[in-house]
């Protein structure tokens, strides 16, 4: 299995629901808690596995906002794993999820430097690295209804811009979406071969125009003079 996410940039409105759902679930998840710094003071921040970055493309009035949620892409060629000196950072054989063993991590930050996607965050309180687990503590939980065995970010997304599944299965929804909509690997040229894919915006919807002649008031009034509503 090769588990990962497909993120639809055609419908993502940048609402941050996935960001907070992730924070919420994982606070009591396998890598929790996720420390919040200066929770009620200056410079509030905290550990998060998923963040939405927003950009504008084009100049006014032809500009457009593009929202790009970013979490660990669970790369097939995961340099964050290669550089780890203790073996704490690893990619699971069973499903391809990249995880950090909290007991073996010494907080050296090498993996974060190796990750071009900014997907890893050191928790100052424990001095160890944390990252997206693909909600490994949800997706196999057989006490949950089958449809709920998905990452929290996917379940919550109000514009259904997030999909979870097995990229090794050519019939899975994620595989089909990537095929049908040209799913892309971000910064593929770097060669990390990310599992997660992004769906580019669909072509703009077009509409035809009614084809009738414009006529001025008096002409229209003459035409309409006898118009009535039948019983």
């Amino acid at each position: 299995m090769r588990l990962g996410l497909v993120i639809d940039m055609d419908t993502c409105v940048g609402c941050q629901a996935c960001v907070v759902a992730c924070k919420q679930w994982n606070s009591s998840g396998t890598l929790g808690p996720l420390t919040d710094y200066h929770a009620y003071a200056d410079d509030p921040s905290g550990v998060a596995f998923n963040r939405v970055r927003s950009y504008e493309v084009g100049d006014y009035p032809h500009s457009k906002t593009v929202n790009m949620p970013m979490s660990c892409l669970h790369c097939d060629t995961a340099e964050c794993v290669t550089v780890c000196p203790t073996g704490a950072s690893y990619k699971r054989e069973e499903d391809g999820i990249v995880l950090v063993d909290q007991d073996k991590c010494m907080g050296c930050n090498l993996c974060a430097w190796a990750c071009p996607y900014g997907a890893r965050e050191l928790d100052d309180s424990t001095g160890v690295m944390k990252k997206c687990t693909l909600c490994v503590d949800r997706i196999y939980d057989e006490s949950l209804p089958e449809n709920d065995r998905q990452p929290a970010c996917v379940l919550t997304c109000p514009t259904h811009a997030r999909f979870f599944g097995d990229f090794d299965d050519p019939d899975s929804k994620v595989s089909r979406l990537v095929r049908d909509r040209g799913g892309q690997q971000p910064m593929a040229e770097l060669g990390y071969n990310p599992v997660n894919r992004y769906l580019p915006p669909r072509p703009k919807a077009q509409a035809e125009q009614a084809d009738t002649e414009a006529k001025p008031l008096q002409e229209r009034l003459r035409e309409w003079a006898d118009m009535s509503i039948a019983p």
Partner: protein, 986 residues
């Protein structure tokens, strides 16, 4: 239970599809992460904004483990926004009030120095005060509620108390939308009706930033994108939902009415009109008296039975406009048998909007949208409406008994909100949007704008506002209603307002939601009269919910010549230590949404879907750990303490044990209560039936909500659908089953205009400014007006507006440890090229000046901003010490409120009477009329926002929040990598 989950749909986000990952060997190798036997899932309704999504809360060890959208809930279908996902941090807020508080004797109001008191003492003090008010002059109590969702109860309480001075926050939110809809089509946007997301092929989003309605709108927009429907966004700012729009029209703020009417011009000039829809379902064929200078000028000609007249071209005679036997002319000028000259509404409409004043070229100059784009979009809508019509085969019968075998749909839909409503021309702008919908025949039809029960209602509903109050007496009718002429106003014989907010006066005749934003100013100025007690529930009137915030804060502490506060007693009910709490004489602490019972009632602000009547409850997920009480319970108790008839029995004893008992047993009319589900003694009579003692339990069993699915033949054309109309009457939505005639031409507006002209056969104003406003703004046809505030555009060249970020919509109790990591400071955003032309760069500090004052703020440059517009996030700025925030928080030091720049009164005292900064029709607060200029701040000035307010003291019992938060409900269950794996695998 019905399956609502959008995740079930194969095309949408959730279902992972065929996969093999539940392979037992993978799961078996993992530890058990969650101790599900120690967890419990409970269901309630979110209260983080006004969407009222269903939530599932997993509790563990007495704490919330996980809050997620309920997949079966009709509103959110399993999804949940960022704010809803941050509910745990709301529950954890250090700003939660813990005990009733009274201003410490000897301390000054506004210092925020309190002593804790018992509930018994607090309620004794309040009861004594309110009893005296009720015994003498009930209007000396003003009771205004913020973003509550219990207006049916608070309104009942106020009516029972006998004060006219009650309203909720609609007057500063979206009354323009509600009023325009209910006086035009019988439905409006959001709670009233939704785009038909399943069928619509062309969608216009007007003036909606990132808010109302949050999750339903996002769910709907995704459906449009998936189907390839075109999405056009009309907004000066391209953020939020507009990010995924196919086309963005960067409109100049406050000019949307002109754009909508220019669309109407194009549709008329191209003869792209749904004539049959207009003729059958609107007053287009009705005859309007043409008798300038007389009391009947512009009124609808009527027969002796009061029925509107139309013209029968065959008989060449007037005929009842409701006749189903006669042909009715749509156009023409005729002479009635009594000699009066009349014209059809449609003739007036065509003459008005075919005028070149509404041409795309004329509109372009006003709106800043190229004329060719206006023309093109109008023609695209026409093509979709008339060449891509939908037909749903279904037998239905209209009000006149005519049988139909299909529903014809015009798949053009719209949604509109604050950008339309928060201008002083918003009522008429919203009417213009409805006119556009009517031209296209897209009201409550497949693919169009679908009503949500209890809507549609009569245009307007036959409820008149209360006008008289008397000591120790309930009001004869609800405080709020729908005037249809000057005789319905709440004014005295001299024409002075009877209400403290001047709603239903000549200043704001159709103020159907009141004018909450004027209450403090009016009360302190004694205009129209002073009051004794102001009771505020969940409203931050000393901060982001008032215009001219600094001045309002001074008013709250201002004293008369005798040294007494001009506003003698201020009671604040809130769950959190808001800025307004500091000014209270008495603070009554409320529970959080996870700690309370509530009803999301059809009598209030309904949550129905187009195909189903819906209501819902909140049920406590956890017990409060503080000495707080839900305000509903306290209101029921106060009602009994004060002897309000609805709350006591025949022995003057409390009639109800508390809020839940009240909800179970109270009937507004026989069989109609706050909750429509599981009525009848056995719970088998939905919608209307006897009280059911087990009703709450049945809701809780059904995960907190109730749905009544309408049969297919009652799902469209409900304004004229006989079976629907009869059913709606039977369940109490409408008093009659008469058809709802859409009012393109509004006779109520014309009555007020006649009053302004001094011609009305009834009350007329005497003041010149009031006459002028009525004549000018009460146009019986939808109209575009420049904004009321006549600001010098050369001195203040920029429009300034606000919006809420999606992760923080609404603003109420908005401090949240997780959400503030995303946004803790608001910037003033400007168009990049415009800013650069002013030599401004990202992060510059600037002074922003309006006619009302100035503020210092930090700017950010962006592309997606109309060039004459600046904007910011509302209510990010906070006062230090409130909400559990430290004094140096970014919200305090760098965040800001635009409110300081917005005057609540326009004109000057020297020139005569001042008018509120509101729509002259409805009294809707005109937040977005603001104009400003910008100058770079001196680099020597401090890099902080101005004005700054000194930090408030933490009330007794509240503690500072932790600097580091490490919330979790159980110790994490780790996964450890085996040594063998490390040694054998890279």
């Amino acid at each position: 239970m019905a399956k609502n989950s959008a995740l079930d749909d194969d095309c949408t986000g959730g279902s992972p599809g065929a996969r093999t990952i539940s392979a037992p060997e993978v799961a078996a190798a993992l530890p058990k992460f969650e101790n599900s036997s120690a967890q419990e899932r409970k269901y309630t309704t979110c209260y983080m904004c006004a969407c009222r999504c269903g939530i599932e809360v997993t509790m563990e060890n007495g704490q919330p483990r996980f809050i997620r959208g309920n997949p079966r809930h009709p509103i959110n279908q399993g999804v949940l926004c960022a704010k809803g996902n941050a509910g745990i941090m709301k529950q954890l807020s250090p700003g939660k009030l813990r005990n009733p508080l009274m201003r410490r004797p000897g301390s000054e109001r506004g210092e925020g120095v309190f002593v804790e008191v018992s509930w018994e003492h607090a309620l004794d003090v309040l009861t004594e005060r309110l009893a005296e008010i009720r015994r003498t002059d009930p209007n000396r109590l003003a009771y205004f509620t913020g973003r509550d969702q219990m207006q049916a109860l608070t309104g009942l309480w106020a009516q029972q108390f006998g004060t006219l001075n009650w309203a909720a926050h609609g007057g500063f939110c979206s009354v323009n939308m509600a009023a325009a809809g209910l006086y035009t089509t019988g439905q409006s946007f959001w709670e009233f009706a939704d785009p038909d997301w399943e069928h619509t092929r062309y969608f216009l989003l007007w003036g909606v930033a990132e808010d109302h309605a949050s999750n339903p709108l996002k769910i709907g927009i995704e459906k449009l994108k998936r189907r390839g429907a075109k999405f056009v966004a009309v907004n000066p700012v391209r953020t939020g939902y507009q990010a995924v729009a196919d086309e963005w029209l960067p409109i100049r703020p406050g000019t949307d009415g002109m754009l909508a009417l220019a669309f109407c011009h194009v549709l008329l000039s191209r003869n792209q009109i749904d004539w049959s829809f207009l003729g059958r379902y609107t007053n287009a064929s009705f005859l309007v008296v043409q008798n300038p200078g007389h009391s009947d000028d512009g009124l609808i000609a009527r027969n002796d039975d009061g029925e509107p007249l139309a013209w029968d071209p065959q008989a060449k005679a007037p005929v009842s406009g409701m006749s189903v036997d006669a042909e009715r002319a749509l156009f023409g000028e005729y002479t009635l048998p009594d000699g009066r000259s009349v014209k059809t509404v449609m003739s007036l409409v065509a003459e008005r909007y075919l005028d070149e004043g509404y041409s795309p070229e004329a509109a372009s100059k006003v709106c800043g949208i190229p004329a060719a784009d206006i023309e093109r979009i109008a023609l695209e809508m026409a093509h979709v409406a008339f060449k891509e019509s939908i037909e749903i085969p279904c037998e239905w019968t209209d009000w006149a008994g005519r049988k139909h075998d299909r529903f014809i749909g015009r798949p053009v839909s719209m949604h509109a909100m604050r950008g339309i409503s928060a201008h002083s021309n918003g009522f008429q702008t919203c009417r213009a949007l409805h006119l556009l919908q009517i031209f296209l025949g897209s009201v409550d039809v497949p693919g169009g704008h679908r009503a949500k029960p209890p809507y549609p209602r009569q245009t307007p509903p036959p409820i008149r506002p209360a006008k008289a109050s008397a000591p120790s007496e309930p009001l004869a009718s609800p405080p709020l209603g729908f005037p249809t002429g000057p005789e319905d106003l709440a004014i005295d014989e001299a024409g002075n307002p009877l209400r403290i907010d001047k709603a239903y006066s000549w200043d704001a005749p159709l103020a159907n939601h009141g004018l909450m934003h004027m209450v403090i100013t009016n009360a302190v100025n004694g205009d129209p009269y002073p009051i004794d007690t102001l009771l505020l529930f969940m409203a931050n009137m000393a901060w982001n919910s008032s215009m001219n915030t600094g001045s309002v804060r001074e008013m709250l502490v201002s004293k008369d010549e005798q040294g007494e506060y001009r506003l003698p007693f201020l009671v604040v009910v809130d769950a959190f230590h808001s800025e307004t709490v500091n000014f209270a004489d008495l603070v009554l602490p409320d529970t959080t949404y996870l700690e309370r019972y509530d009803t999301i009632s059809l009598l209030d602000r309904p949550i129905s879907e187009p195909d189903a009547v819906c209501d819902a409850i909140r049920a406590p997920i956890m017990e409060p750990d503080r000495n707080v009480r839900p305000w509903q319970d306290v209101m029921v108790e106060l009602g009994a303490r004060l002897g309000l008839p609805a709350f006591i029995d025949d022995d003057n004893k409390p009639r109800y044990e508390g809020y839940t008992d009240f909800i179970t047993r109270y009937e507004k009319a026989p069989g109609i209560g706050f909750l429509a589900g599981w009525r009848g003694e056995d719970g088998d009579t939905p919608m209307r039936g006897a009280p059911n003692p087990d009703q709450w339990d049945r809701y809780i069993e059904n995960e907190g909500f109730f749905q009544y699915h309408l049969p297919e033949h009652m799902r469209f054309y409900r304004f004229a659908n006989r079976d629907y109309l009869e059913w709606a009457r039977d369940v109490g939505f409408n008093p009659t089953a008469e058809p709802i005639i859409m009012e393109i031409y509004s006779e109520p507006l014309q009555r007020f205009r006649l009053a302004g002209q001094g011609l009305y056969d009834g009350p007329c104003p005497t003041r010149a400014d009031q006459k002028e406003r009525l004549v000018h703004h009460f146009d019986p046809l939808p109209a575009y007006f420049p904004l009321v505030s006549k600001t010098d555009e050369s001195a203040y060249p920029l429009h300034a507006v606000t919006q809420r970020p999606m992760h923080m919509y609404h603003s109420w109790d908005s401090q949240n440890a997780w959400l503030r990591q995303i946004t803790a400071q608001n910037f003033l955003f400007m168009n990049r090229a415009r800013a650069e032309s002013m030599d401004l760069q990202d992060d510059d500090w600037v002074w922003v000046t309006s006619s009302n004052g100035r503020i210092r703020v930090q700017i950010r440059l962006m592309e997606g901003c109309q060039t004459d517009t600046v904007w910011t996030w509302n209510a990010i700025g906070k006062q230090g010490g409130n909400w559990g925030l430290s004094e140096d928080a970014p919200e305090v030091k760098r965040g800001f409120l635009l409110n300081h720049l917005i005057p609540e009164l326009l004109g000057s005292a020297e020139e005569g009477r001042m008018q509120s900064n509101s729509d002259p029709v409805t009294g809707q607060a005109a937040w977005y009329d603001l104009r400003v200029r910008i100058e770079k701040a001196d680099p020597e000035e401090p890099a902080e926002s101005w004005p700054q307010f000194s930090a408030t003291q933490r009330p007794p019992g509240l503690e500072a929040g932790p600097d580091r938060l490490r919330y979790h409900t159980h110790e994490p269950v780790r996964i450890n990598r085996t040594l063998r794996d490390i040694l054998t695998r890279k």
